[in-house]
């Protein structure tokens, strides 16, 4: 029995031993919308540079800003239209742009909505799909939690001064919003363009279809920048990694994954 307990207490220490090799570690923390793309880019970069270990973590844009400020992470990720005042003093680089699209159930007959209709739906003034030319079904609004980068940007770009109705259902991740909308024919939600799958249908906003071309040409307006934040001007490996993300090769990967390259 003693031996058993002893073995178990020792296992974590053995694991520490395993992890300690001679590589430089870069921690990247922040936006959950950019996280999967950052992971893929980090994999690519680590395949080419064996002496660097890059750890990518989510947590949200606000966590990204805090971690970059406190030095927990060398790089913070934030995807908000305007950086909040907490990000003051941080060095920021825009590495990609991300479209936010409205999604509905694939069986929903609605093809597009005007900005005004969207504002009225999300504020709870319009409660039935037949008020915007659809079938006679109640509208279920699915929103993100207070402070989410996606929600802040969506409100800033589209809702302006209109407030999301308190009756809106709240889900805490892009994936969960997609599952909810994909399962409920009455629902409407918003997610990053890169996360759209066949489970859900995107709709036109003021007649503009959300496609990569339209987003790139600036016809589709609901886009937000993805910032990488560092404390002070980046140096060494951190600088090299950011330069890699800005390189044509990585930018090509970014647009392949559904984000908008900036070069």
């Amino acid at each position: 029995m003693y031996r058993f307990i002893l073995t178990f207490t020792l296992i974590p220490y053995m694991m520490i031993g395993c992890a300690r090799t001679k590589v430089e570690t870069i921690n990247i923390v922040g936006s959950t919308a950019f996280q999967p793309f950052a992971e893929k880019l980090a994999e690519e970069y680590m395949a080419m540079n064996k002496d660097v270990q890059i750890n990518v973590q989510g947590g949200g844009s606000a966590v990204g800003i805090q971690s970059a400020q406190s030095g927990v992470a060398q790089i913070g990720m934030a995807d908000m239209v305007v950086l909040p005042k907490e990000a003051g003093g941080l060095n920021s680089v825009v590495v990609a742009k991300d479209g936010i699209v409205l999604i509905v159930h694939p069986d929903n007959k609605i093809d597009g909505l005007s900005t005004q209709q969207i504002q009225q739906i999300f504020s709870g003034k319009l409660k039935n799909w037949n008020q915007v030319g659809g079938e006679n079904r109640p509208i279920t609004i699915i929103s993100r939690e207070e402070g989410s980068g996606t929600r802040v940007s969506f409100e800033e770009l589209l809702l302006k001064d209109v407030k999301v109705s308190p009756e809106a259902l709240i889900q805490d991740s892009t994936g969960a919003v997609r599952v909810m909308v994909g399962n409920d024919i009455n629902s409407i939600g918003y997610i990053s363009y890169g996360f759209v799958t066949k489970q859900v249908k995107t709709i036109k906003i003021d007649g503009v279809v959300p496609t990569l071309e339209n987003i790139r040409e600036g016809k589709y307006k609901i886009i937000r920048p993805v910032f990488l934040l560092t404390k002070g001007v980046p140096v060494g490996k951190v600088k090299e990694f950011i330069e890699f993300i800005l390189s044509p090769q990585a930018q090509q990967l970014i647009s392949k994954y559904g984000l908008i390259a900036i070069r």
Binding site: G59, G60, S61, A62, V63, Q66, P84, E86, P138, T140, E145, E146, G147, S148, P166, E167, A168, L169, I170, Q171, D172, A176, V179, M180, N183, D184, N186, S187
Partner: protein, 284 residues
């Protein structure tokens, strides 16, 4: 030498035991330190009884969340109490050892399923059923109550079984000797004797329901409203903290810690009540 060793072990155990209490006190102090300023600023009455939760406008009032936690917990209790009591009575009083050996571990296995799995089941299976047969958006008090009811089932069942089995066998023999049937014996002798243990089990189940977070976030809908019916979505205290903590800064963060204080107090009251009731049984 032996005596010295003995003392060393005793001392080691003492330190370990006290460290648990120290952790509890430290957590309590930390939450109080972070959350109390905002409660005092908003005012205790406004904080608890107000209905507006608009973090970006600086309005922090958590009455809808308190109602949400209450509704869902009450629903879960309503769902699981009859089931778990029936289960416990059957297993403790009527089942053969063979069936008991299969049933009891199965029920305990329910406690081992991760809450994310429960939440996902609710999203995929319960939502469409509720939407199609009862109406409403899907995520609602009813869905959360059903799922939480299943989650607290093992807690209530196993504690109830223990307290039923703790009733001395002579009680049952006496009752049967007087000509009572087995059910009459259970209803009039065993259940009243085991009452306080069963109540303690129920209160611990309530504690688990109030504290559950992950599954509730996935299936309760999280809308900040005071519900009119069991088909309305609600947000619980735990969901409020977990949803917004990663994004919150400044006063918003403090308000979430303040929500934690309320939750902490509620769960502490529940646990103390459970302990008092259980102690009463021992004293008897």
């Amino acid at each position: 030498m032996l005596k010295y060793n003995e003392r060393l072990i005793q001392f080691g155990l003492l330190i370990t035991a006290f460290s648990t209490i120290a952790i509890l006190i430290l957590i309590g102090l930390f939450i109080l330190k972070e959350g109390l300023p905002i409660i005092l600023k908003v005012g205790i009455k406004n904080f608890i009884c107000g209905v507006n939760w608009l973090p970006r406008e600086g309005e922090f009032e958590i009455f809808p969340m308190i109602m949400g936690s209450l509704w869902i917990t009450a629903g879960a209790l309503l769902m699981s109490m009859p089931l778990s009591l029936a289960c416990a009575i059957y297993l403790a009083e009527f089942s053969t050892t063979k069936i008991g050996k299969i049933l009891k571990p199965t029920i305990e296995l329910l406690a081992g399923i991760p809450s994310v799995v429960y939440g996902f089941m609710g999203m995929v299976i319960l939502f469409p059923l509720i939407r199609n047969f009862l109406g409403g958006p899907g995520p609602c008090i009813l869905a959360a109550s059903i799922i939480l009811g299943i989650m607290i089932l093992p807690t209530i069942t196993s504690i109830s079984i223990d307290s039923l089995q703790a009733v001395p066998y002579s009680y049952r023999e006496g009752s049967l000797a007087l000509g009572a049937t087995r059910w009459q014996t259970v209803k009039m002798v065993v259940l009243p004797a085991a009452r306080s243990g069963i109540i303690a089990g129920i209160i611990l189940g309530v504690g688990r329901a109030v504290g559950e977070t992950m599954a509730v976030i996935m299936i309760a809908g999280n809308a900040v409203i005071i519900p009119d019916s069991i088909l309305d979505p609600v947000r619980t205290l735990t969901a409020n903290i977990a949803l917004e903590m990663s994004f919150a800064t400044g006063e918003h963060r403090q308000a979430l810690f303040a929500t934690g204080i309320v939750l902490f107090i509620v769960i502490m009251i529940l646990n103390i009540t459970a302990n008092l009731i259980a102690k009463k049984e021992v004293a008897k």
